[in-house]
């Protein structure tokens, strides 16, 4: 046996094999695109806005001076900031609450077997995959002050009286409700898909065991399904909050923050101040108010998710 070993030839791999197995070379190569993407499209703008927020830069001037925290003082002193902050919170919390309720119901319905399930799944996913601007234009018509489908239908069915004609995007409370409805419509598909993935990851045996152990629908749902779904639910909520908190598209397209800033959120206000108003420094300062809140939300949820992690 020893002689056989002594005669053995060292196997040499071709350069292709050597490259494909060289992890020290491969991992930076594979990670590079992602890191480049984050640095260029996230890191750089973020640092730029940090820089802007302590300067007096505007769209029209080429000078830039350090002004300390003056921009932040200005923002906090403004009445609109507090309205926008309040609106952002209402917008986010209310919409995410309903997203959670609807997504849970939908995910459970879709995890059951029935004919034409793929069609229903497709329809539910549509709001998420269709460009939001297209969807928002549809909603603009639905909420239109003259042609509103809701109002015409309501009157035809005599739910609305002959003189009731709500201006959906024009009356402060209705405008807020309207943009919340659109945001729910937009986020529900994503949350549904996430929860659906969570539901399918629970082994059928566990549901069966609970059924045999004497649990009815509600006990199974509340004591088995929901707790097991909690980590992934937190992920869905985290996504929803981040998307809603930082999003300006729905508000921008439907109400532009109106009437009288009653639907203004921090994201739209930052845009109006910085880009349309030309006050880049002020806009940067407003948008930075979003940051600590989101970091806090992310940390809290990731901690919760880790604690409730189950195998």
């Amino acid at each position: 046996m020893t002689t056989a070993t002594a005669n053995a030839v060292t196997a040499k791999a071709g350069w292709r094999t050597r490259l494909a197995d060289n992890e020290r070379l491969l991992w930076p190569l594979m990670l590079a695109p992602a890191i480049l993407y984050i640095v260029l499209l996230v890191g750089f703008p973020f640092l730029l806005s940090l820089f802007y927020s302590v300067s007096d830069v505007t769209v029209g001037s080429r000078s830039m001076n350090f002004v300390g925290l003056e921009n932040f003082h200005r923002v906090v002193a403004s009445n609109t900031f507090w309205i926008a902050l309040k609106n952002t919170l209402i917008f986010t919390i209310v919409s995410q609450f309903f997203v959670l309720v609807f997504a849970n119901i939908l995910a459970m319905a879709l995890s059951a077997d029935f004919r034409g399930k793929w069609l229903v799944r497709l329809l539910i996913l549509l709001p998420w995959v269709a460009p939001i601007s297209l969807g928002a234009i549809g909603w603009l018509w639905i909420y239109d002050s003259i042609y509103s489908v809701i109002n015409w239908t309501g009157q035809a069915l005599r739910i609305l009286g002959p003189n009731d004609w709500p201006i959906w995007l024009g009356q402060p409370n209705l405008a807020m409700a309207s943009i919340i409805v659109v945001q729910i419509w937009r986020i529900v598909p994503l949350a549904t898909v996430i929860l659906l993935a969570g539901l399918t990851s629970i082994p059928q045996d566990i549901h069966d065991a609970a059924a045999v152990d004497g649990a009815g629908f509600w006990r199974r749902t509340l004591q088995i399904t929901f707790p097991l779904l909690l980590p992934i639910t937190l992920v869905a909520v985290l996504f929803g909050i981040v998307f809603t908190f930082t999003d300006m598209i729905v508000v921008f397209l439907l109400t532009r923050g109106g009437p009288y800033d009653q639907t203004q959120v921090l994201a739209t206000w930052a845009f109006f101040t910085g880009i349309q108003g030309g006050d880049l420094a002020g806009g940067a300062a407003v948008s930075l108010f979003l940051f600590p809140v989101l970091v806090a939300v992310a940390i809290v949820f990731l901690l919760l998710a880790r604690r409730s992690e189950v195998t």
Binding site: P203, D205, I206, D208, A209, A210, A211, V212, D213, G214, A215, G216, R219, Q223, I224, P227, L228, S308, V310, T311
Partner: protein, 342 residues
Amino acid sequence: MATVEARHISKHFDEVRAVDGIDLLAREGEFLVLLGPSGCGKTTLMRLIAGLEQPTAGDIVIDGRVVTDLPPRARNVAMVFQSYALYPHLTVAKNISFPLRAVGMQRDAIRKKVEWAARMFGIERFLDRKPRQLSGGERQRVALARAVVREPVVFLLDEPLSNLDAKLRNSARDELKQFQRDLATTTIYVTHDQAEAMGLGDRIAVLNQGKVIQIGTPQEIYGKPMDTFVATFIGSPPMNLVEEGASYFGFRPEAFLPREVGNSDDSVGFPFRVTRVEYLGADRLVYGVLEGRTAEAHVISKMPNNIRAEIVAGERYDFVVRRREIHRFDRNSGRHIDGSGR
């Protein structure tokens, strides 16, 4: 304690007849094993009894009551799953007490019952742990404790030992049999492992392709197989089958021995050319061909190690089988045709 009866029960999944018109009765306090190859319908039959599947036709009767239309929770059966299906987010104590909380039992009574069940399976130390902190054997005990705790009328066990390693499986088998005897609860046990079936079952029902082929005590199943399927499914190595005209004749490997050790008045002799000898510790397996036959007849002899006769591959030997150890089967239907096998 109760009887469990399947009355001409069928379950079809589209074109597949998973369970195809089965009639079966588990007697009071009996340990009935459903044995068959994978895909034979044994697990589906158990799920039908539990109420986790709705039959295409037929009825399930538990304790004289037709329960076909009742949901699982109303049948008072307990089930142990192959994966154990413990609730991963609940402690062992909460897992065991889950069925009791589901029926709204008082907190004090629940505590006593959980302690009783935990003591029975020696898992008192683990009550505050989560399932993922337990070993496979400990999880299996928790699953059993959860099944036992509300004293159901029937236990349904779906391959509960298959996830344990070989050594643990033997001791777990022993304990399982012991506790079933103590509680005297009717038990239906699904397995594809014949050693488990033989060791545990009061009676065994052998299933194939959605039908019960034979039901009987382990001795009956082994000694008087109804057809070639049962004959070759039970026994390791399986029964030797040799073609002869319009029938097969069969004999167990351990009944096929050299003439100098196996000879008696009713012996039938066969010239046997050995092709290979396998040494298995306690036994020797001798592979070879029966000579002087039209079709090549490959057979195996299983010789315990106290038979010292020297057997060498490539040589011819004179082997014998006692006449009463020979079974005859119809070649077309596979059915047993001798008087001995019913």
